[in-house]
Symmetry: C2
DNA sequence: TCAAAAGTGTTGTCTATACACCCATGT
DNA sequence: ACATGGGTGTATAGACAACACTTTTGA
């Protein structure tokens, strides 16, 4: 599922970028009952990175994040939210790690990116796993990892990643997370699986269902899905309008007893 | 209450600063039943600004924010939290507004701060009103404003300020806000006043009291305060330890029905 | 027929809210 | 005495959690 050309055009910047600002994006998906995060590395490297890119002088920060997201997943119009910034004085790209610059900005011309103090601007994104077409440059490897099985990362990357996960966990009661992570039609056990993965504990099947339906932005389809030697679960879909209302006022979806 | 020397030493930077990163701090206090925000302007200017400063090359972002806070209030060890970053492509200091650079960094030597794309890193701070000693440079005016009566601001400043207020409103159920904004000893009506100011509506006096006491990190002092022609209210104080526990787990203080 | 998992109903407990009542104090 | 506002108690409605029971399906 590789597609070299669009990746290049998305990543390669004609103009010079801002040398000391790196946009990072923690891309979260959900598959097979587990939360996944998309990481990237140089093909011959051992350590992984949260995808990042430098920002064009003439580009909004948010647009840089969208461009980054598109360059890895092929998807641009998804849930994207800033959650944190990082910038300790010692934070910069070490000379010995200079090679990873290729992952952030293919043309290493112009500004000297290793000389600058580096400020990381952290975004996280929730994306439908099935919609993702993993894209990578020819020297790059991009891969989903189970969130509970993260490989060795470059310095500072763990903080960037873990802070995102903690933020999502704190916000899970306030964002209609299922809408972002699941396909258009989904079953109640699938939805519950997301909450269980994020909260790290089991939820009562019966109370969960009642709660979700009572909020009113999930509607049952008159179909079921065959998934095994038992009753086929109903399919549901989100009512986008209701969901948008809720989002505006920051209403609470899940109970507070985390 | 002016004190010229320390202000200079806090603001004036020997080394060169990062030219495109501006730390902003929305400083929130509570007085006389109203939320206040500390704004700054040049003495002969008409428009106000959220206090900001550039970051030293060899200074953590958080430390720059603390230095900024201290340079305006004399207080450094207070609640300080990053909440947002801003950076649209057109965002930079216009040549006609170049004069405000004096407010961010007294020495205008070195890097050309008007040439750069500007990224605002937003912090907000909750501070005990009585502890604040307003500090200003000789060409600067620093003043508390009622949060519902904000004067004319420079471009982008309104977004920085309003986003902070919205963030605080969303988080009010999760941060022990009274501990930060009130003196060590306080009355229940004072505490309630903060919540009412933030939520923008009245709360039931009696239920509020019960709720606050039931959470368990407020303890009654055996004193009262005379405040008028009626029963003197009890004084209370926070139990810091309990509060810290709560903070860690992001427990909920107020109900969710905003 | 049985196991597994979906879906429905019931009940007790806890929490939020509304409000009646009493207490303290200055004019 | 009375107006003002703090402090305590109680009753009701609604939400949450626990769990019994029913339904559907493949082996």
């Amino acid at each position: 599922m590789r597609n070299e050309l669009p990746v290049e055009s998305l990543i390669l910047r004609q103009e010079e970028c801002i040398p000391n600002i790196l946009v990072n994006c923690v891309i979260i998906g959900f598959d097979n009952g587990c939360l996944k995060v998309l990481l990237s590395r140089l093909k011959d490297d051992t350590r992984w990175l949260v995808p990042g890119c430098f920002v064009d002088q003439a580009e909004d920060l948010d647009d840089a994040a969208i461009r980054l997201l598109e360059s890895k997943t092929g998807q641009g119009n998804v849930y994207l939210k800033q959650y944190c910034f990082f910038g300790k004085k010692e934070q910069s790209i070490a000379d010995k790690d200079k090679k990873i610059l290729r992952l952030f900005n293919q043309s290493q011309q112009g500004a000297d990116y290793t000389q600058s103090r580096l400020v990381h601007l952290g975004y996280y994104s929730l994306i439908k796993f099935e919609d993702v077409n993993i894209l990578a440059q020819e020297f790059e490897e991009v891969k989903w990892f189970d969130i509970n099985d993260i490989p060795l990362l470059y310095p500072h990357q763990d903080e960037i990643l873990q802070t995102a996960i903690i933020t999502i966990r704190k916000q899970v009661g306030f964002i209609p997370i299922g809408y972002e992570l699941l396909p258009v039609e989904f079953t109640m056990p699938e939805l519950r699986g997301i909450y269980e993965a994020i909260l790290g504990r089991e939820l009562d099947r019966r109370n969960f269902q009642r709660k979700m339906l009572s909020i009113g932005f999930i509607k049952p389809m008159n179909e079921t899905r065959k998934v095994g030697a038992h009753k086929s679960p109903n399919l549901y879909s989100f009512i986008k309008d209701k969901y948008d209302e809720v989002e505006k006022y920051g209403m609470q979806i899940m109970s507070n007893n985390l």
